[in-house]
């Protein structure tokens, strides 16, 4: 019988989200920043499934369904942008992509 509390799942979800957040802030490679964004999406997914389980409803699980779909679409578009960017600038380091800054 599972004895871990909702507390543990929400805490783990927050830790995962924080790790993804740090990844977005400290990395300079656009692809790794994308991976960190996915990590944050997965963290919110975990919280939704945990709440869904403890409230004995299906709504959280169905929302996770939608999040998976949107994440797949987002990755496809994002990686297409990265490829288009690389074609133009020959780099995907975000520190060198500052045409809009000046």
């Amino acid at each position: 019988m599972i004895q871990s509390s909702l507390f543990a799942y929400i805490g783990l979800s927050a830790v995962l989200f924080a790790i993804g957040f740090i990844g977005v802030l400290i990395r300079r490679n656009a692809i790794v920043i994308f991976m960190s964004l996915e990590l944050m999406l997965i963290a919110s997914t975990l919280a939704l499934v945990a709440f869904s389980k403890y409230n004995q409803t299906m709504d959280g699980n169905v929302f996770v369904f939608f999040i998976l779909t949107v994440a797949a679409a987002e990755v496809a578009v994002g990686l297409a942008i990265v490829v288009a960017l690389f074609r133009q600038k020959q780099t995907i380091q975000v520190s060198e992509l500052d045409s809009l800054k000046h």
């Binding site: 740090i22 802030l25 975990l46 578009v77 942008i81």
Partner: protein, 165 residues
Amino acid sequence: MVNLMFIIFAGVTVLGALGAILNRNTVNAAMSLLVCLAGVAGLFIQLDAFLLAFLLILVYAGAVVALFLFIIMLLDVKGSLGGLNRSMGTVATLVAVALMIAGVAAFLRHANLPSVETPMSVGVGSSLKAYAELLFTTYLLPVEVVGFLLLSAMLGVIALSRKLS
């Protein structure tokens, strides 16, 4: 006995996530993300969301991480771990993460969450029928919207990947 499986899967998840953001080699980072996803799928199974665990492996590990690896190998770029040398960036990162952790901690302390989980009624989280019933009644409009989103994402990717004249 504390739930041993939760500890194992949580450890795998956190270690995979740390590997994904701290690895200098981008291919290794994608592989660490895969490990992290496997851990999350294990946690989903613990939460009786068998279909979602299966979909997570299928969609994320099968499609998303494969796409990441494909792009990484196509572009052949070096991952660099910069940013922490600038003091303002470091301070901003630390403050933001501390604020977020403090917010979640305050929520967990005051929210009066149930300490021991109630057993799930049979078939609520695991049956495909429950998903289908909600998807085709309450959430019918979001399903249509998500379908349209997928179509527009597909068209967007086609438009983006054309050769720029």
